[in-house]
Amino acid sequence: MSTMNMIEALNSAHQIVMERDDNVVTLGEDVGYFGGVFRVTAGLQKRFGKHRAFDTPIAESGIVGACVGMAAYGLRPVAEIQFADYIYPAIDQIVSEAARLRYRSSGDWPMPITIRSPYGGGIFGGQTHSQSPEALFAHVAGLKTVIPSTPYDAKGLLIAAIEDNDPVVFFEPKRIYNGPFEGFYDRPASPWSKHPASDVPEGYYAIPLGKAAVVRPGEAVTVLAYGTMVHVARATAEHLGVDAEVIDLRTIVPVDIETIEESVKKTGRCLVLHEATRTAGFGAELAALVQERCFYHLEAPVERVTGWDTPYPHSLEWAYFPGPVRLGLAFKKILEA
């Protein structure tokens, strides 16, 4: 066991998988010599060589297109898209190609590709370093979408994602790379070392995709969250003394419906939480699923607490970001309903 922050945990996942399987290669903008602008791939080039960890031209679609070809050859490419805000140019290769090739070829060309990308707000990154585009990928058959919330999970999920034989979009909540963020932007940040989930085994372990974790048991209301929002949910519930059951989805597609259903049927109330814009966000899917499956157990409508339907602003970030106040109001509303 070591104490790791999320960056170190993700780095460790790379090191281990690349050591175990020399078909794993890592590529992306600045990921080679420099080790990535967030240092997630630090040291890989030195250890595994330039042909297994290398810089690419600045062309996200070229990166993913090359990954598709590499996967067809038999490699397991792990690509970094520097910020999720820059994944859009690559969407055609992800959606029309990587996601559909197994199907299109009736199994001949599986696509074991992992596309990692730092996502989400909370760092004053403005419109193009803050977005949460997970809903777009959730809509696409053939893709899995994974979002960890702790160093421990990040490592185990990334190993599972790289070993998965289907394409995985792996969004990393950059706000919590260095420490959990509980939404109180005006309080001092705490580092991961103070959090139990920073105890990370040095060796190999995998966390199965598609399994959520109940990170805080409760009886009054179920909160469905992922990424940074897991910490906001937990802290807000603590802070307000709400007996909320907080579920960290970890994988949004395929989502762990059993854990969700079990919890909502118990609490009778459900609140979904994400940073992304509300309309047609993944929260809509969660709300739709929950009301489809737990309708007769629900005592109030499923509430969505999300980012607003505007581009992500720079200076008004804390008015945009779904923090403890927004969540607190929603708790109040749903518990009084």
């Binding site: 290669v25 050859y73 490419p77």
Partner: protein, 423 residues
């Protein structure tokens, strides 16, 4: 800073929109096509630095002259047996195309695309590459798949989306895929295969393998960003890949000028990336063979990629959904100055004394019979028209390696639907 300008003193701008030399009603006009004589374009060594052979992108590699002789430095000196084998595949491809086109017209499938007039591009490459070199084709390289020996029967089963379709009816006709034959799943999204081929070639180099990749795109689709990504990555990593641009003059209704062909050649794209570029007569199978072999040698020697522009002509409609009579002169195909690839190889074989008109007619007849026979067999497994498909349950397979709960649920719903429809 300069003062506010007097706009009146500046000339008026105007938008240039390229226009083809002829439209319906006009006589075909290929006077803009400079037909360099066979043998005239030099052959640099395949290790020549790209900059030193820049002129090649403005030349036109041709081996077969009008008389049917193979001339000049690019002559690949193939044996009559090989030439005949190539001829057979070209003829088979054309016959197959005809049969499938008609099958579509008969309602047996939804869609078809012919490669008529462009058979040399695909078949010539097949004979110059190793059979385990990897292909990332588009929808007009069926000749290459046939040359590699992929069963016509399977191709037809796919065209019909019938019970024997190896792709379970999931794909459009013509979008073949075969791992066994080193043929990547054809995409409907133009351009996507080009960086994929580069990625595959990079992987082969990463693994110190010896297999190279080749890819094909129409000239129209070179405008997609993916073409640029492919060229950039291929150049940066010196990927062992052959990037074929099939310039058949048309992209559905838009002529090659709309893709950028008015200002320069498509082979010239190579210059921008510092990679080797060849411009060749795509209706001359010997030129195709020689250029492919040259590029393959270069790639295998770790000298990186080559762009080959195959100058050819799309002799028929874009697809069964298209009517070229609406946008190009009626007999443009007949006026195409580079002739027909099958005719040209036939003439060469006759000239060599290895072939004659009678044998050719016999080959043609035999091929039609053989293809028809396969077709009858394929139709026994059903056609799209008569709706003999794979089980509905197969629709939910291969989306993921393991079926997640939501797809399993949906499969059950779909089964209930079938049940409900029956009752």
């Amino acid at each position: 800073m300069p003062d506010a300008p007097e706009r009146a003193n500046r000339p008026a701008l105007s938008l240039h929109v390229p226009e083809p030399p002829g439209r319906p009603g006009d006589a075909p006009d290929f006077s803009h096509v400079q037909v360099l004589p066979a043998g005239a374009t030099p052959r640099p060594d395949s290790a020549t630095p790209a900059r030193a052979m820049a002129d090649m992108v403005y030349g036109l590699v041709r081996v077969l002259n009008d008389a049917g002789d193979a001339v000049g430095p690019w002559n690949p000196r193939l044996s009559p047996e090989t030439l005949l084998a190539m001829l057979r595949v070209m003829v088979t491809t054309r016959v197959y195309d005809d049969r499938m086109f008609r099958a579509q017209r008969q309602g047996k499938t939804s869609f078809y695309i012919k490669s008529t007039g462009e058979e040399a591009v695909a078949v010539g490459a097949a004979f110059a590459m190793q059979p385990d070199d990897m292909c990332f084709p588009i929808y007009r390289q069926q000749g290459l798949l046939i040359a590699r020996g992929y069963p016509l029967r399977l191709m037809m089963n796919q065209v019909y989306s019938n019970r024997g379709d190896p792709l379970h009816g999931r794909q459009l006709p013509i979008m073949y895929s075969s791992k066994e034959f080193h043929w990547f799943s054809i995409s409907g999204n133009l351009g996507t295969q080009v960086p994929q081929a580069v990625g595959w070639a990079m992987a082969s180099a990463i693994k110190n393998d010896s297999r190279i990749a080749a890819t094909w795109t129409g000239e129209g689709a070179t405008a997609e960003g993916d073409f640029h990504h492919a060229c950039t990555f291929a150049s940066v990593y010196r990927a062992p890949v052959i990037l074929n641009v099939v310039n058949n003059q048309w992209a559905i209704s838009s002529f090659q000028g709309i893709a950028g062909g008015e200002q320069t050649t498509f082979a010239a794209r190579a210059l921008g990336y510092g990679i080797a570029g060849l411009r060749i007569d795509g209706n001359d199978i010997l030129a195709v063979h020689a250029a492919t072999a040259w590029a393959a040698d270069r790639a295998r020697a770790n000298l990186g990629p080559t762009i080959i522009e195959h100058f050819t002509y799309r002799a028929e409609s874009h697809s069964t959904s298209d009517d070229p009579g609406a946008y190009r002169p009626a007999k443009e195909g007949e006026a195409w100055p580079l002739g027909d690839p099958i005719e040209r190889l036939k003439r060469h074989l006759i000239r060599l004394g290895a072939w004659d008109e009678e044998r050719h007619a016999a080959l043609q007849a035999e091929t039609i019979d053989a293809v028809r026979a396969v077709q009858r067999e394929a139709e026994k497994l059903g056609t799209l028209g008569d709706q003999t498909f794979h089980d509905i349950g197969t629709m939910f397979e291969d989306v993921y390696e393991q079926m997640p709960w939501h797809l399993a649920e949906q499969r059950a719903q779909s089964a209930a639907e079938v049940e409900a429809a029956r009752s």
